[in-house]
Amino acid sequence: MATKVLLVSLHHPELVRGGAQQVCYELFQELRQRPGVRVCLLASTDQSVPGLFKAGARITGFDGREDEFLFLSRAYDNWWHKVGEPLLIESFVEFLNTVRPDVVHFHHFMAFGIDLLTVTRRTLPDCRIIFTFHEFLAICAADGHMVRRTDQSLCEQASQVRCHQCFPEHGPEKFMVRKLWFMRHLDHVDCFTCPSRFMIGHYVNWGLPRNKIFRVTNGQRSYVPEVVHKPLPGPKNRFGFFGQLHGVKGVHILLRAVQLLRSEGFTEFCVEINGDNLRFATPPIREEIETFLAAEDSLSPTERLVLYNGSYHVDQLHTRMARIDWCIVPSTWWEIFGLVISEAWMFGKPVICSNVGGMAERVSDEVDGLHFEMGDPRSLAAVMRRACTEEGLWQRLHAALPQPPTRAEMADSYLRLYRASDPSEDLSSVRRVGGGIAELNA
């Protein structure tokens, strides 16, 4: 009998670009091709796409696509992460009873509500509930970034007092209750997964049981076209940024590095910015980026160093990647996994990234990429200059680029979790690496 899997996604990637929904959708597409698996996707949407909301409906189909559904979220409490509309809960319960999945795999709780884990358990007592973390939202009320609001430093550990320091308007006791609220619901999860080791450490420190968390790297299909042009000879001085333009992605750090290089008289390079959602940046960051790009646009083509290419679809990646030699990931937060790193490797582009979190875990400094000091434009500028001028550097790093994980490998790992009644016993081939972290894939 086929294993029925329900994937729960924050947004549909067709509607809102983002890493978590991209990964979930890749898994959905892969599982659809697997024999013995029947998969459904339930993706949230909100009032930003009002045309999709149908009177009296709470869950609908999507765009005529088979087995893809939309959860029309509303009345969402962004502090406690729950919906306040009983009919939505009722519809979700009805949906569960209709689909009757053997596995419910949550890739997020936002827009659905963390309490849907409990109602899932109550509705389907025997189903396996899997939860994949894509950020730290359960731990950290500051958008799940674990970046301290007090000084923008990376936060190593949450506590009632430390969280109160970031949110002085909320007393420490409120964070105690917040953790209690999340923990009670997460208790119903059979297995957690994280795409990176350091992330597992954070969640274990927070209080999740180590033996319930597994590392499963995020996989993607290849976007490399059949015909691939060889890299052009000559200096490797073309840099690219791919992603959303809000503060923690660090575009402003890159632009400041460009300004520094320009002021030093070094202009033999170019930078292409690919992405959107600048509207989600904080006002000061947004103003800085807009001011820089406006000034850049006013320069003559020969003087311009930065080009803003706007948003892109994954199918356009190969053309955008073909225009660059290096991919820069200047994030100012932990960056859990960085799908863009996989995408850069797909196209043979070494990555220059901040020296923290998922970036530092994936990119080995001086082996297959280069690190710079997070948040430091001078450090980034020095690395960019070196990247442009050091003979043989690019070639050496390019030759050592790992193969990005495929979505087939990702699906294989998840299917093992879906089907194991007790992963710690049945998954005998699970490797325990440093810190007791269970690896489901290499």
């Binding site: 406690w80 729950k82 919906v83 306040g84 509309e85 009983p86 809960i89 009722e90 319960v93 309490d115 409990t118 109602v119 109550r122 009632q160 007393g171 420490p172 006791e173 409120k174 964070f175 105690m176 209750v177 209690l180 609220w181 009670r184 619901h185 208790d187």
Partner: protein, 595 residues
């Protein structure tokens, strides 16, 4: 007769005092003046000019009050300069030489309760009587007044001798149909008579409010009143003059009207009988319904309990109904929502909830109390089933702060002795203070954690045999809003031969976060302390004062345990004067009102 309410607003602060009536900003000191504030503080003036602030008042509310700007020398200087050119208002009198007098606020409620605020410079010609009403035959009369400081008048008069120029009076309701008799907008006659026979007459149309609104206004004004001398002593002296009893009676009539019309809606699986009914009054914060449902639901034995949420905030009813439906779907708990038309207060709300309880055991729990142990319901049930009757008839629990330390290991009483001075002489009185055993102590301090009889337990968590609770008359409904009902209940129980016990169920308690705290609640707490002290002083002093158990019944029950009695008392050498109030109340049982 011309009205005497036209003098310079800088002096009377009429508009600001009127702000104590509903709909305006609570907590504004009566010496605050927008113009003076802006002139005294150039930084505020610049911020207003730049548009960073809407007004000086906004600055005061956001920061100036915390910074105590009204106590700064710059403010006093500016006020003195401002008032120096102002003539004290002349009162209109039927005879000459009546003292300068003004009425700053005048309100009447639907049922005829009346609240009058003003000031008079009667240093040399005492105010002896006030009457107010639509006609001479329908007037209310007072010969005792609550007096308080008025720093605005002090600045104008520029006397160095401390004197309470301000006054307020309150009279309780007449009847429910009173509102229909009020001619809205018509001026009432207010007469103030002085010792030398002079009289000031002021014509003023009262502002009409609902009963609860007027109660809240009076409590807010009471909370923010200033005095020379000890604030507690002076406030209590005012309450002694009739205002206290009148306010208590008024509040009781309001609560009874609210609870008389209470209705309920049930959610989730219902049984004929549960092992316990968890009663939670909600005020101002709806989130606790789903937070508690989540925290309490995940544990064995919870299916034997029902939750009864008493809604003291009607504006939350719609949201709470939705949350209860959601909680039913997610947690499957038995829940009941009890609706009332307003804030009936802690005691009355709990008492009305008992009407809807489907068990023989009542657990009165604050919304900000959460279980530390998943199996707390099982622990509670086991405790009730296994311990001797005297230990479980009425008991509380150890409660912890969010930081992990102890918040409550039982309650004991202590006494603050003070004096009130007046032209009549010096009066001494005792104020009872309620304290927690072990507040802030580590949880390994077993002397605070172990099961034992205690003078009282906090109402944040009380488990009581329903029959006993009802025999005690439930919570006394004389207390306004909340505070002291728990200690009152425990003393009623002790007086009836059953001391409260403490058991270690170890719950979280986010003390003070369970409801929306408003200024009127501070006024209520002040009034309640007065009431509690008056009611129980003779019982508490001396056998129930201090940490050490001296009461024979407490000692006897403590001795029956296998473990030693409670913590030792540090030696104090202090005699507690017996006040006239204590002598009057000696032997008088606590007033309780059966809901």
């Amino acid at each position: 007769m011309p009205d005497d309410t036209s003098p310079a607003p800088k002096l009377t602060r009429r508009d600001k005092l009127a702000s104590y009536l509903p709909g305006s900003e609570p907590g504004i000191d009566d010496s605050f003046d927008e113009n003076i504030y802006i002139r005294a503080f150039p930084d505020v003036a610049r911020a207003v000019e730049r548009g960073d602030l809407a007004s000086g008042l906004q600055h005061y509310l956001l920061a100036g009050r915390a910074e105590r700007r009204l106590q700064c020398p710059e403010y006093a200087r500016q006020m003195a300069e401002d008032c120096a050119t102002v003539e004290p208002p002349a009162s209109v009198a039927t005879e000459p030489h009546a003292p300068a007098t003004s009425i700053d606020a005048f309100a009447v409620s639907d049922s005829g309760a009346m609240f009058l605020v003003g000031w008079t410079d009667d240093r040399h010609n005492q105010l002896v009587a006030i009457s107010a009403g639509p006609t001479e035959s329908a007037s209310r009369d007072w010969t005792q007044f609550c007096r308080l400081r008025r720093s605005d008048v002090e600045a104008a008069v520029q006397s160095s001798t401390p004197y309470h120029y301000g006054f307020w009076v309150f009279a309780g309701p007449q009847d429910r149909s009173y509102r229909h008799a009020i001619d809205i907008g018509a001026e009432w006659r207010i007469e103030l008579r002085f010792a030398n026979g002079t009289m000031a007459v002021i014509l003023r149309a009262p502002v009409v409010h609902g009963d609860a609104e007027l109660r809240d206004s009076v409590m807010t004004y009471f909370a923010t009143s200033n005095y020379f001398g000890n604030r507690w002593m002076e406030a209590f002296d005012n309450l002694d003059r009739g205002a206290g009893d009148a306010l208590i009676a008024f509040n009781r009539s309001i609560s009874r009207a609210m609870t008389a019309a209470a209705t309920a809606e049930r959610f989730g699986p219902q049984r004929e009988r549960f092992k316990g009914s968890i009663i939670v009054p909600l005020f101002g914060i709806a989130d606790y319904l789903f937070l508690q449902a989540c925290a309490y639901a995940h544990g064995p034995g919870i299916e034997d309990y029902e939750f009864i949420y008493v809604v003291n905030s009607p504006e939350l009813i719609d949201q709470l109904q939705r949350e209860a439906r959601i909680a039913d779907m997610i947690y499957g708990l038995a829940q009941t929502l009890v609706f009332q038309s307003g804030n009936a207060g802690f005691g009355a709300a709990n008492n009305v909830a008992v009407q809807f309880a489907q068990s023989d055991r009542l657990l009165c729990v604050n919304p900000d109390v959460f279980p530390r142990q998943r199996n707390w319901a099982q622990l509670h049930s086991d405790l009730v089933a296994s311990l001797p009757a005297q230990q479980i008839r009425l008991f509380g629990s150890t409660l912890c702060y969010d930081d992990g330390s102890l918040m409550h290991g039982g309650m004991y009483f202590d006494v603050d002795a003070g004096v009130h001075t007046s032209q009549a002489g010096i009066t001494r009185r005792n104020l009872i203070r309620v304290e927690h055993y072990g507040k802030g102590a580590p949880l390994w301090a077993t002397q605070f954690m172990e099961s034992r009889p205690v003078p009282a337990v906090t109402g944040a968590f009380i488990s009581a045999e329903r029959a006993w609770f009802e025999r005690l008359g439930g919570f006394t409904e004389d207390y306004v809003y909340g505070h002291y009902e728990d200690a009152d209940l425990c003393l009623k129980s002790l007086q009836s031969g059953v001391p409260a016990w403490l058991h270690d169920l170890r719950m979280w308690h986010l003390e003070g976060k369970g409801s929306q705290g408003l200024l009127q609640h501070e006024g209520g707490s002040l009034l309640n302390r007065w009431l509690f002290s008056r009611t129980w002083e003779a019982t508490i002093i001396p056998e129930l004062v201090g940490r050490t158990l001296r009461h024979p019944l407490l000692r006897a029950q403590a001795a029956e345990r296998p473990t030693p009695a409670g913590p030792a008392e540090p030696q104090k050498s202090r005699t507690l004067p017996t006040t006239a109030a204590a002598k009057r109340s000696a032997g008088r049982p606590a007033r309780s009102s059966r809901r």
